[in-house]
Amino acid sequence: MTVDSELEGQIAEWRAYMDRRRELHHTDADELEDHLRSRITELTEGGLRTDEAFLIAVKRMGSLDDLSREFAREHSERLWKQLVLPGEPDSPATRTRRELPVMVLCAAIAALAIKAPGLFGLDMSDDNGSFYARNISLFALPALAAYFAWQRRVGIRVIGVLAALFVLGAVAANAYPLADDSQSIVLTAIHLPIALWLVVGVAYAGGDWRSDRRRMDFIRFTGEWLIYFALLALGGGVLTAFTMGTFQAIGLDAEGFVSQWLLPCGAMAAVVVSAWLVEAKQSVIENMAPVLTRVFTPLFAATLLAFLVAFIWTSNGIDVERDVLILFDLLLVIVLGLLLYAISARDLTARPGLFDRLQLVLVVAALVIDVLVLVAITGRITEFGFSPNKTAALGENLILLTNLAWSAWLFLGFTRGRLPFARLERWQTRYLVVYAAWAWTVVLAFPLVFDFR
């Protein structure tokens, strides 16, 4: 009996080590324990003493670090934030210690970069508004990409590609002779950040941008980054209000300082700081994006269904105003976001449940509404011809529509238990390339196609 209890004690200790690893879920540890026990049973039947059998069985299981690393590779959704996988040979402690200074350096570079044009006479006044609008993403995102490039130790070739893409973006934003009030300027100001954000994604993936898992990690990162950025912006708003108020109380006007230094530099630095926060503080709180998704998916589904019912009931036509296409583009973006973050947090092997059906309802409702809008708007476009704005809005609509339509199809297959959920995930990660291609097309080709209108 004592031999048995000794063995049980050893197994319990081993089990405790397992449970301490975040990348190993409880059920995984159960599965491994079952394996360990089977092995011990076999060895003791072969004539070994239990403690010998235990040692051999543990040894054959492989080192805990190797094991956790393999589990982490396979289940990156469980600890995607933990960037340096445990026991990886290239994760010396010195690097984590230098992490904070490097981040501060990158944030400082981003903050100073936005003041650099001021040295060349392009100060932040309304006259230069379009310069800053075009180039806004070129101040902070290179610093962010550099931070990731350092942290992931990417190769020299990847660094070359990243640098080339940022230069390309800078040339595209500034080389075309665009008038300050042209539509193309606005389009560049919107699309260049998207294009360059996906370039940051290449750095985020450490150059391994073809990997579906790394892409999904980047999607998760994007959602969390947005949330942290919004939180920092809120804090920054409070700081601004106090700066203005307190200085006003002693008769000094701080508005110049706030609008020239505090806001622009703070916003640029916040881009890098939020990224660092996402990376560093992930283990402290639950991922927020999936939680928000859970809350808002039913609400959005209800709203869209109500809209459809009202549309059919009243038989009011959709008022095809100029901005309506953009409004519905944004709606599709939100629905897609809800879908993406539900996917990113989902346990890939769980069976379809009520929430998945709700998600399907949401996607289908958005699709139906969008088709209605497209039908209504086609007439207008053929009547008035293509402008850069309309073409971009229409293109985006079609891209999102394609994505959601195929997602709905895959989702239907999944809820009926015919397709694995991973198919849907793969579809979304592969589709990132389409966004990149479209954003670059708008930035690079639209001004040429539309004669710099």
């Binding site: 995984d28 394996h35 092997t349």
Partner: protein, 124 residues
């Protein structure tokens, strides 16, 4: 004889799918069967089988559920899916091509065969 890590990794998926194609099974039994089939030549680190099984599950090649046999421990059983069978057939075609090519090389260079063959035997 020691089979290199790369070869072990490359052959893991078709081996596991092939074993599951004969009927549902669990991790330890799969590992034992790999061991038997290869005459002890293929040595896997035990624990690393499970991440592989989970990956196959995520890709939809296998399904799993927990079962408790009467008087036994709770255990996770894996079953191959239709998609997994298709994948197995595909892997089989690919491996057949590789083996054919290798055979061609061995017979084209006859000096290798007679020396190597006894070496393999001796390694056992």
């Amino acid at each position: 004889m020691h089979i290199t890590k790369d070869l072990v990794a490359a052959s893991a998926t078709p081996l596991v799918l092939g074993i599951l194609a004969e009927g549902e099974s669990y991790g330890y039994a799969i590992l034992k069967q790999v061991n038997d089939l290869s005459g002890g030549q293929l040595e896997w680190t035990d624990g690393l089988l499970y991440p592989l099984l989970h990956r196959l599950e995520r890709l939809g090649h296998v399904e799993s559920d927990w079962q408790t046999p009467p008087g036994g421990r709770r255990r996770k059983y894996y079953r191959i899916t239709e998609q997994g069978r298709a994948e197995l057939a595909e892997q089989r075609r690919q491996w057949a091509a590789v083996v054919d090519a290798l055979r061609g090389v061995w017979s084209a260079a006859p000096s290798i065969t007679p020396i190597m063959a006894p070496a393999w035997e001796a390694g056992r």
